[in-house]
Symmetry: C2
Subunit: 201 residues, 2 copies
């Protein structure tokens, strides 16, 4: 689609800000490509600058540090995932029945979190446990438990379903205990069914 709008939309960012956002996005795309092809550990500020065709100083001006860049990558990936939950195809997105959505949520969150684990580590303090990310998942699970007519303290039950999907708990299971991913995913589904089924079921 072409963009015939010459003046900024009411409430939209001014053109200079939009340029800055576009440049920032280009740097994040370059960084994400490097992560995908070489792994988080190989992504340096220099490599991102080279790939995006800008000076190293530009990357530092936008993100301050490698930690800041990693935090921005994490934020971007989390946003993409949340968009899939809110408006992507079922069963993760709307349209499937709530139990199917809950099971799809667990599986998708598990793999997303493991993909994010390295970024979280690389982001250091900047990537420490994000309240915004937790809050989104908590609201979503609470909503699905409500749709499933689960009786009980839904915020606490939502927390109980999310806690096993936290990075240190997943790493304990996948890396330390060396359980296969499929076993951990199936275990979460079993937990979700136990939490959801009515007492007399």
């Amino acid at each position: 689609m072409s963009d015939p709008v010459l003046l900024p939309l009411l409430g939209g960012p001014p053109p200079e800000r939009r340029d800055a956002a576009r440049n920032r996005e280009a740097l994040l795309v370059a960084a994400q490509e490097l992560v995908d092809s070489c792994g988080v550990d190989h992504v340096t500020m220099e490599a991102v600058a080279a790939r995006a065709g800008v000076g190293k100083g530009t990357v530092f001006r936008r993100f301050e540090s490698r930690e800041g860049l990693m935090a921005a990558l994490l934020d971007r990936s989390e946003t993409v995932w949340q968009a899939a939950v809110i408006s992507g195809p079922p069963p993760l997105g709307p349209g499937a029945d709530p139990m199917e959505r809950l099971l799809a949520f667990g599986r998708s969150r598990l793999t997303t979190t493991m993909r994010h684990a390295e970024l979280i580590r690389a982001a250091g303090r900047a990537g420490s446990r994000s309240y915004a990310a937790w809050s989104f998942t908590a609201m979503h699970v609470r909503y699905l438990l409500g749709e499933l007519h689960v009786a009980g303290d839904l915020p606490i039950l939502a927390t109980a379903l999310l806690a096993p999907l936290e990075v240190p708990v997943l790493e304990q299971q996948l890396s330390v205990e060396a359980f296969p991913l499929e076993r951990v995913a199936a275990g979460w589904e079993d937990l979700a069914r136990r939490v959801v089924r009515p007492p007399g079921a």
Copy 2:
């Protein structure tokens, strides 16, 4: 009781080692008293040395750093708690029925973890998520689930019961969401009952 043993017991530590252990314990007792009376933040190597009546150098020699001291305090407190689970009075210790023990475990672990949270933070890297502590609780919960004849992947279900008792998840609920402790404890009991009850119950 007097101690008539003049020679070290077979397999016991030599006297010099025993003295070292006693001195170490005296320093840890002094540090724990300071924690109890002033809070973790006020416990310095100097204050511990002064209270135990030794030089600051002695405290540094034993624990290397304040982080090391905090890790040792954490370790000691965890050991005391584990002893209560293994051989303390019921319902946390043996003697109660397994469901009572499981509920007592959850409540006790919740308060112990919150009491430990500050020590864990103060211990920095030295106090990072302890595999030994996790492993003990995982084995205990798995054992109780077995006694309760729960059908399923018990190591995974045990993990699901332990994950909501991890420090960041508890702090999320108690500090960020500001849920009362009693609500979080009751929510864990509800979770435990949902996990334990048979599908047809």
